[in-house]
């Protein structure tokens, strides 16, 4: 019985963790091209989810809403890049940390005023009954999360490897200056990475909202976990985020069960600080050599 509860907790936690992994993957995309990440990514997830909910309320069918939300997220990503990141990158400063925090704050305030401060339910297209796997109940929505996360990450990886634009993306990630000399516009590639990252954030929002509901506070709850996953795995770790995300999700759900729900984030946060101290480049990250 006890073992079964642990299993149940771990599995549903791990499936939630895949959403963190997807948001963390969004960080990787922009970090690869520009060594910058959007500190307001949680707000992007939240605003895109609200927008998608509004589309549904307006009578847009579910399968049309998904691309709609995705495009909206991509547009927000472009806005963040233009307003918050490009100037700092041109000046080679780290001003983008502050600017993306500020833009996130603005999105938060806008969401509070447009959609209200309360959490709202988000409909799921799946029936609420669950499937039993080795005695563990998994809902259809949770399966959809796992499939959706892996599908979008797989699609983007294929895009990066198989298309010309994707190869330009990889070239800028490897060496920005050399890519520019070969006639690839680094600025456009960074824009592309922010648009992709915004789209990924929107998908994460649409996938997670039926489980967690939508509300302004979901931003800060998600962002910290996604950060933890991205950094513990390493900002250039590729699919490593999925493993770390699942582990962190499971740990969190067990901690909230055994220590108390107020403590659910504590083990992950301590793990984050420790992991940073021991391996600043992350579990799956590559360490560089200091050069003079």
């Amino acid at each position: 019985m006890n073992l079964q509860i642990i299993g149940q907790m771990a599995v549903s936690g791990a499936l939630m963790g895949m959403v963190y992994a997807l948001i963390a993957y969004g960080f990787q995309l922009t970090y690869a091209t520009s060594k910058s990440i959007n500190f307001g990514q949680g707000e992007l997830v939240m605003v895109s989810a609200f927008f998608s909910l509004t589309l549904l309320d307006l009578g847009v069918p579910f399968w049309l809403m998904v691309p709609g939300g995705l495009v909206f997220g991509a547009l927000l990503g472009l806005l963040v890049e233009r307003a918050g990141v490009r100037l700092a990158l041109e000046e080679k400063s780290e001003g983008w940390v502050l600017l993306t925090i500020i833009i996130g704050l603005f999105f938060f305030s806008a969401a509070e005023n447009i959609w209200g401060r309360d959490d709202r339910p988000f409909p799921s297209p799946f029936s609420p009954d669950s499937v039993q796997v080795f005695g563990v109940d998994i809902t259809r929505q949770e399966i959809a999360v796992a499939v959706g996360v892996l599908a979008i990450m797989g699609l983007i990886e294929i895009f990066k490897r198989r298309t010309l634009l994707g190869k330009a993306f990889e070239a800028v990630s490897a060496d920005r200056d050399a890519a520019e000399l070969m006639g690839i516009s680094a600025t456009r590639t960074v824009m592309l990475s922010y648009a992709l990252s915004g789209g990924v954030a929107a998908v994460a929002g649409i996938l997670v909202s039926p489980i967690t509901t939508v509300g302004p506070t979901m931003a800060s709850a998600l962002i910290l976990k996604a950060f933890s996953v991205a950094v513990v795995a390493g900002l250039d770790s590729g699919f490593g985020v999925v493993l770390i995300g699942m582990a962190l999700g499971a740990l969190e759900s067990l901690a909230s069960f055994y220590i108390g729900s107020g403590w659910r984030e504590a083990p992950g946060l301590m793990l984050l600080i420790l992991a940073l101290a021991v391996r600043p480049t992350g579990v799956f990250g590559k360490a560089g050599i200091r050069k003079v």
Binding site: S36, I37, F39, A83, R86, L87, E90, E94, G95, V97, L98, L99, I101, I102, I103, L105, F106, F108, S109, A110, E112, N113, S220, L224, F227, S228, V231, G260, G262, W263, E265, A266, L269, M270, L272, I273, L274, L276, A277, P280, I289, R290, V292
Partner: protein
Amino acid sequence: MKRLLLIRGAELALFALLATVPLLVANAYALALLTLLAIYGILLIGLDVTVGYLGQINLGHVAFLGLGAYAAGIGVTRFGLGMPSALAAATAVGLVLGSLLALPALRLEGPQFALATLSFTALSFTFLNEMEGLTGGAQGLSLTRPPLFGHDLSPQGFYWLCTVLLACVWMIMRNLLSSQWGRAIEALRDSPIATDAMGVGVYRHKVAAFALGSALGGLAGGLYAFNFQYLQPQSFVYDLMVILLMGVVLGGRKSLWGAFVGASIVVLLPNLLSNRLIFQAVSGLGLLMALVSGIRGLLRKTTRPFQALAPIVSMGLLVGGGLLVANTEDWRKGIFALMLFSVVVGLPEGLMGFAARFLVRLFRVAPAPLPAPSSLDEVLPSRPADGSTLLELIDLKRHFGGVKAVDGLSMTVRSGQIHGLIGPNGSGKSTVVNVISGLYPPSSGRMLLRGKPLPLGSLYRAARSGVARTFQNLQLFSELTAIENVLVALNGVYRSPLPLVLLGMARAEERHARADALALLELMGLKDQARTKAKDLTYGAQRFLEIARALARRPDLLILDEPAAGLAHPDVLQLIETIRRVHQRGISIILIEHHMDVVSELCTVVTVLDGGRVIAEGSPEDVKRHPKVVEAYLGQTDRDREAAAPDAPPLPA
């Protein structure tokens, strides 16, 4: 002197004003605002240490405010502490937890550092919220302000206490930041590698600075607790953190005045938002400023279009939104965001930075004259060159993955020599230097300096044991002036204990140090450019400044890594002359150089490397004719190949 008087005068006037206001205005609300201003002043000065001086986005400061507040609150309610000991406890909590967080977090840079501190804020909130037995949890913690030395403080008395503490913090920080210690912190932002290589530990300075800032956060927290007499974990979260950051950035980073201005803005913000008229006036003024400076910048082409337009758009949104929105309070965060965005983009140095530029133009006051340089004999006393073994490398190896950059190298440098190290590109010269100076640990092999093992893999400890180096790719502290660059590295002058430095009683030492530094600049022909920022010096002057800075270490062994690279011919001649003069003072030198004329002119012994091994050693004339050296530089001739034929298989065509 006049400049100093102006600055000190402004500070005195500020504090005199702060002290007398409660006597003139008997308004409880105004007094509450002023008290909060003094508390936030201390808090933001602490935050500015990391955000301004270390240049890192610190999202953990609010946690230290909260932890300090709870330490004082719990100290008073549970343990019956008096006010001084409760404040000391709050400061200590900030200091200790700050060091504990800094130890792992400051190994990180940029976004990772911001993340680590953000996690700390979330973690401390969880702790305060969940440890209900200790903190009262979400219910909050009520306390009453304890008496100070037996006197119950009136609100006015408490305000004066806060102001006095702010004045003390201000004075201590000013002295500290203008000392050797503060200079090191500014230097490490420009080049952490050079800071370590000059024997000034980067990591320890960063940790100490962060811990100090956190201690001030804790102190402010203690005062916060006694001010509100009610604490809730919910007060110390990310939202407040963003406002504090905004205060520092808006006010102006790296400035005590900036922190104070920022604190005033943070304190006044709620009033700004609750009164529609004030809000419209302020946002209108902001738009006007953005328009004027934006259009001026565009016309003079001093700013990028984005930098001019973005603040106008954002202030325009603020003004337009202010007319449309029914209740500005609801849009609090959005309004912060728009204001902060305009300032960060349009006025990156903050209000005080802007004002300072303006004031400097208004009061043209010459800086205090530099002291006369010390005599060179005092700065670099002549040492006997006895030709004994100084540095010994035994079978040194350094591999990077499969690349054997240094592969079993042994060589000896004798005291009082200029020892040349030459070889084609990729022969391992730079790696040897990087291993000796501690940038990389060797893969195997031993290094002895005067018979004692050299510290491995630590620039800082290698520098401390007497090795100083220059960098082929310049690593100057570009935002510091030439004389400050030398002062950072200056070894053996600063001896005053920290408490004296904090009280501003180490001035004589500072004068002495300046005179010494000036003597070294004079030796390098840079005396007239002592006050020029390193980044504004000519390329040649920057190379000489590197040498002056390394000499300030008064090293046993000076390593010059391609000092003539990129120099014009007259500069090369001056370089030769200068190195010779340094050598005459008995300093042993390893010289890496591609200019053979420089090497022939200066070196007594030359070691030639190829493929990470020594292929020849001897006087410059000998090695020039050595067949292996000729081969390494020019390749094999056909005749060489025929001569080598008996023991080597013929090369495939």
